[in-house]
Symmetry: C2
Subunit: 456 residues, 2 copies
Amino acid sequence: MVNTLFLPELREMLESQNHEEMREFCNSLHAATTAEFMEGLNAEELWQVLAHAESGTRNQIFLYLKHERQIELINGQDRREIARLIAEMSADDRVDILKDADPQVVTELLQLVPSEDRKEILRLQSYPEGTAGAVMTTEIAKLHETLTIASALQEIQRQSATYETIYYLYVVDDSDRLLGLVSARQLISSLGKPDRKITDLMESELITVDVDDDQGEVAQKVAKYDLLAIPVVDHQHRLLGIITYDDVIDVVREEAVRDAHRISAVDPLDESYMRTDLITMCRKRGLWLGLLFLFALLTTYKLHSYEAHLNVWSWLVFFIPLVISTGGNSGSQSATLIITALVSEEIALKDWPRIVRRELVMGLMLGGTLGLFGLILGWFVLPADITSRGAILVLPITLVLVVSCGTFLGSVLPLVFQRLGWDPALMSNPFVSGLIDIVGIVVYFNVARLLLSNGG
Amino acid sequence: MVNTLFLPELREMLESQNHEEMREFCNSLHAATTAEFMEGLNAEELWQVLAHAESGTRNQIFLYLKHERQIELINGQDRREIARLIAEMSADDRVDILKDADPQVVTELLQLVPSEDRKEILRLQSYPEGTAGAVMTTEIAKLHETLTIASALQEIQRQSATYETIYYLYVVDDSDRLLGLVSARQLISSLGKPDRKITDLMESELITVDVDDDQGEVAQKVAKYDLLAIPVVDHQHRLLGIITYDDVIDVVREEAVRDAHRISAVDPLDESYMRTDLITMCRKRGLWLGLLFLFALLTTYKLHSYEAHLNVWSWLVFFIPLVISTGGNSGSQSATLIITALVSEEIALKDWPRIVRRELVMGLMLGGTLGLFGLILGWFVLPADITSRGAILVLPITLVLVVSCGTFLGSVLPLVFQRLGWDPALMSNPFVSGLIDIVGIVVYFNVARLLLSNGG
C-alpha cells in the first residue's frame, strides 16, 4: 500500500527546492517511516530527497524501500553516488540488492567501490541462493583468543559501528578458526575484572552451521536454540560470517511462503510474485498442472469403464462432482494438517499409527455427518426422478466411504513421503485431491452397483 | 523424532543411581541437546535425572522439553519442586506452560510460589491468547530517567540474570511511562563518559505495540523494523513488558501454519494437531466441509439442467472430472500465489489491474498448452467412440476457457476479500475450486452445445 499522506508536501519541497525541510524530513523520522512516505515519488524525485539524508540514515532509508524501487535507483541514478551508498551497506544487504540489478551496471559499480568491498561482494555472490553462505553477513565482531576483557571492550568500542551486532563476540585463533563465544552480557558482568582473558569467559560448546547448509535448516536451528545469531563456518571450522535473528525472521517468512506454494502445487518462486516473469511462472505452474492433468486423465478412463452403469442409471452422473470434490476437500484438510505439523515438528513419523487412527475416526465422523445430510437431501430436496428407493442410500454411503478415504490418504501420503526422505509438502493438496477423484469414482460406482442391482 | 542414542546409558545411570554421571549429563551439554536425549524416558525417570541439573540449567532443560511432556511433569511430580522450577522461569514461559496444566494442580502450585510471582502469573494470564499481552515477558531492564551511564551500568550488572535481555534498556519516568530506549551498544560506546545522563543517549522515537494488539501484527512490526525487542505499552503509554525476537520467530511460524490451514479450509487450531481433541477437530473441519458440500451441491443441479445434452452426447460425462479438476488446480495455484503475496505485502490492492492481466495471460498460456495436449490426446489416444470430428475440439477449447476462468477467479477473489477488509486466506483453495467446478461445467456444456449442434 503506498502511503500518500506526505506526497503533496514532498512534491512542494522539491518544487521550491526547500533543502532545510527535506533535510528534516529525511533525518527526523524512523528510516522505515521515511521510506514508506517516499514510495509515491518517482525515482528521480526520491533520489533528490534522499540526497538530504545524513549518510548513515540515507543507507537505512534506502534499505527500507521496496526491492523493485531499490533496483530502479541502482540501475538509473548517478553511478558514483550509488557506489558510495553500496560501500556503506552491510555485506549481506548489498549482495541481496546487487544480484537483481542490471549486470552491466553492477560491473561499472564494482569498479567504483573500494577494492576490499569489491572482493567481499564477489566472494559472497558466489554462494548459491538459499544457502547459509548467501544469507550471512561478514561484519562480525571477531576477537583474538589472546585478548583480555579490557582490550576486547576497547576493540568493540572502536569498531562498534561496523559490526552487524556487538552482542555476540566470536573468539578465533590465528587461522580464524572459531573457538567460542563471549556475549556482551558476560562482558558487562565482568567489567570489574578487566585483566581476565576472554577465553575464561567464553562459551566453547557452540551451535554452528555450515556455509552450504540450507537456509531453512539454519532458521530451524536458530529458532530451536533461541539464538541472537548463529556463526557460519567452513569445513575447517573457520568463521566465515554470522546470520542474525532479523535475517532468520525473513527466512522463516520466506520458507513459509515456499511451503504454502508447494502445498498448492506451485514450484516455489525464486523471486517475488511480481518480479517473476511470465515464462518462468508458466514453467513453474505448468509442470505441476500438466502432471495433475495426466493424473486426472485416469478419471476419464475410469468413467469410460463404467459406461454400462451410466447407461442403466444415468442419474449417477449428477453426483460425480459432489462426491469427488467432497472427498478431495477432506483429503486436502488432512494433508495440510499433517504437512504443517510435520514441518513444525509437532508430530513425528513414529506417531503414524495414532495419526492414521485419528484421521480414520475423523473421516467416519465427518463422512457420517455429511452422509446424514445427503440422506435428508435425497428424501426432501432432490428432484423426484433421481430418487428411487435404492438411490436414496447410494449418496450417503458413498460419502462416508469417500470422506474416510480422503482423510486416510491425506494423512498417509505425506507420512510416506517423509519416510522416503522426500519433502512431504510435495504430496500437495491437488495431488491428494486428484487421487481421491479416482478413488471416489471407483467407490461411488461400486456402491451404486451393489445397492441398485437388486433394488433400483 | 525421539533421539534414542543415549537411552541405554541413561537407564543404566538410573539403575545404578550413578549421581556423578547424571550430574555430568545434565550440565555439560547444551540444554536443548540434553532435553532431546531425555525425550525417550518416562516422566518419573526424566524427573529423577533432571534433579541433578544445576538450578538454572534445570530450568533451561525443562523449557526445551516437548510441551506435552512439560505438562505431564507439572501435573504429576512433586508440587514443591515444581513450584520452585516455576518461580525460576521467566514470566512469559511459565504462563505459557501453566495455561495447559490441570487447573486444580495450578491452584495448588500458585500457593507454593512466592507471592510476587503469583501476582505476575495471574496478571499475565488475564491477557487473551493471541494478543501482545499474552506473548510478552515482564522481566525488562527498566531504568529510571535520572540515572547516569555509570549507575545504569551498575544497575544492569546487578540485575543481569533476571532480565530477558539487557541489550535494550528502557527508560521510564516515575509512573512507569516509557520515555525511550538505550541500547547496550550505545552504553558500551559511552563507557568513557560515566557521568552523562542516560536520557542524553536515549532514542525517544520508539516503535511500540499496544498490549491488546494482535500477535501477528506485532511480528510484522518487529520484522519490518528489524528489532531485537519491541516494548508493549498500555493506553497511558506505561511500559508493561517486551516481546523479544525469539518469541517473534515463534509467532511468525505459528501464523504461517494458521495461514496454511485457512488456505486449505481448516479453521486454524488453537492447539497443536495432536493436542486438539477429536470433537474440536471435527467442528473446525466439519463447518467448512459442510459449507463446501452445499456449494458442491450446485454442481448437481447444474448437471441436472444439462440432462438433455447428456442424453444426446453421453460421452461428455467422461471428461467432467478432468475439466473441473484442471480448472480447480489452476485456480488454487493463483489463489495461493495471490494470498501469500498479499500476506507478505509483496503486492497491494492497487496492483489489481496488473495482477488480473498477468493471471489472464497466464491462464491463456497454461490453458493453451493443456488444450494442445488435449487435442493430441483426442486424436491419438482416446477410444474412437468418443472422438467424432466435432468432439475433438470440445476438450481443448473447454480447457483454455476453464483454466483462464481458474486463474482469473483465483486471483480476483482473494483481492476482493482483501478489499472488503476480510482475510484473503478465507478465499481458500477449496472455495475457489468449488466455484470453478460450477463454472467449468457451464463452460464445458456450452462449448459442447455450440460445437456439436452443427457438426457432432
